[in-house]
Symmetry: C2
Subunit: 336 residues, 2 copies
DNA sequence: TTGAAAGCGCTAACAC
DNA sequence: GTGTTAGCGCTTTCAA
């Protein structure tokens, strides 16, 4: 089964020998340090290329006392992650910063829960140089553990309350403003809210914005746990006086509202307008196609990674100017 | 900004000193080797616990010449990954095997394409001990690179043609049989096929199974690239004689068919039955709720990781008995 | 059963 | 500008 020969990997000594220089010269050359003449440098790099040599990550990690890797621990049920456009886009964004910096991403999916030991292990073993924290709660048990260990951390999101760590945040809250404004422009006044679990800070932020933007006439607000989405969608529509629109904190939730409306004999968008969030690829595929709010989570991930790399280097985080969310109007919202 | 004191991490020497033994004894104790008396072992473990010490991953990697990490490189557009239930479930499954084995997962998302240099870098730097390959194509440029380097590899899927590596595969093909059988039982004969991009082996397998199961009267088969899903859905419905059912290789594709049917004035399931695949959380949320096929990709990921760890250890892969796919009948399919 | 010591491959002082 | 050398923290012979 095993393929190919268990060929010995070349080491820096092989490269040095081949280029006729010292190991130190090789090290300096590949790390772009001064102290090597251009000609020598070129010869060294050529030798490295010919041998297919790259510095061993573990040897570097040992001498530099850093792993050149960061950790992302996701403590959610896989089904929840599947339903959330955020993660994949955010991951792709992290990568955009990490790869050019020679950093790797250690991803750990753990069953829902605090997952403290996952953090503890990765940090204590020195596998990662820092963490990006998502899904921050208050109080968050991870804070104490990581702050005490002195591990560099960046929070993706806006922690309610005190945070010992720097954080980055998108302008997603404005997206909720935009969704409500869009509906009001279409003549809607009784606008309900269907959000994800209440413990998520981003859900709370959107809830607050909805409440503010929808004003006095706002309808019901309901939070949906992943396993009870359909029931929650029915609940937001139930009762009197009837809503004419619902804003949701994700596109799958909006789909659930569309389904619940159908059961209740309401046509979307004729009888009820529904807006989603995140503008997932599903929004365009659903019927009716969903009005949604596009937030650039890729850019967010890239900024979070940049802030973390800065923290690891002991530097201040680079500026992050999140772009404005964009409302994408589709068929699920209409003038009432 | 930086949090906590940059506390020096304890080393094996600290633990040895505290326990009053040699470093070797500590090493033997934490690695569960013989040669340490039970009492001493306990004393050592207690000292390690008190100091919060864990063996440094990079130091071990250096001496053992293995990283205790495996790589997964996903060369797909983020939007494609978002639409695919496979990845998250598969990742969660990998983790189920890796975590207990003390292995970490290095995830790299790269722009769509061959991504050979991502593999090359991770392997040459010794960051990972092996790779799990998904989305295998024929011919696959990764094979030569990795086989030549002697890197342990396991393929998740069934490579068409010769493969230098061991592979694991689910019984997803039977899922297509089940979907078609379900529709035939409902009285459908002209059953179309809407699949993902033709270059994916799993799409080809399902296409072949559909063709076989749907028989002579089978309808059109259309492949959809992610950016043209809606058009592909229209295409599969176009032309005469009209189909009475469509099977798809994913739930989002099924949603697109439902939407296209609506545009064409066809009601689902009254005029057209539609079946999805993967049984993503969306299937239950869509309207109508989608009949779909559940394949256990978590179990698949766990098996792939187990096979890879075995390959790394130079052992034969453990047996994998994939469970049968389960058809989940919902409202999108009905008797014609 | 335990201790001493030699590396693993690299980086970074420090001489030359 | 270039070479020498001492570790980084651990595993693993080899002696004691």
């Amino acid at each position: 089964m095993s393929a190919g020969a268990p060929r010995r990997r070349p080491t820096i000594a092989d490269v040095a020998r081949r280029a006729g220089v010292s190991q130190a010269a090789v090290s300096f050359a590949v790390n772009g340090r001064p102290g090597v003449s251009p000609g020598t440098r070129e010869r060294i790099l050529a030798a490295a290329r010919e041998l297919g040599w790259r510095p061993s990550a573990s040897a570097r990690a040992l001498t530099e006392a850093r792993a050149r890797a960061i950790g992302l621990v996701l403590a959610r049920d896989p089904a929840q992650i599947e339903l959330d456009s955020f993660f994949v886009r955010f991951l792709a964004g992290l990568e955009r910063t990490l790869a050019p910096a020679g950093y790797a991403l250690l991803l750990q999916l753990v069953p829902a829960g605090p997952a403290l030991d996952a953090y503890e292990r990765l940090a204590a073993e020195g596998r990662v140089d820092g963490f990006v924290l998502t899904d921050v709660e208050v109080p968050d048990a991870r804070f104490e553990l990581l702050a005490e260990a002195g591990t560099p951390v960046v929070i993706a999101g806006h922690p309610a309350g005190e945070s010992p760590f720097p954080w980055v945040e998108t302008r997603h809250a404005e997206g909720m403003d935009a969704a409500v404004a869009h509906l009001r422009e279409l003549g809607h006044e009784r606008i309900g809210f269907l959000g994800g679990p209440a413990e998520y800070e981003h859900v709370q932020v959107r809830l607050a914005r909805w409440r503010e933007a929808a004003g006095e006439a706002a309808g019901r607000a309901v939070h949906a746990r992943p396993e009870h989405v359909a029931a929650a969608a029915r609940a937001v529509l139930a009762g009197a006086p009837a809503l004419t629109a619902v804003v949701c904190t994700s596109d799958p939730l909006a789909m659930a509202v569309v389904a619940a409306a159908g059961e209740a004999g309401l046509a979307v968008p004729q009888d009820l307008s529904v807006a989603g969030f995140d503008d997932s690829p599903l929004a365009a595929l659903a019927s009716p196609a969903l009005t949604s709010v596009r937030v650039d989570y890729g850019e967010f991930g890239a900024a979070a990674a940049a802030a973390l790399l800065a923290a690891i280097a002991g530097e201040p985080a680079p500026a992050y100017s999140p772009s404005a969310p964009a409302l994408v109007a589709r068929a699920s919202t209409a003038r009432r």
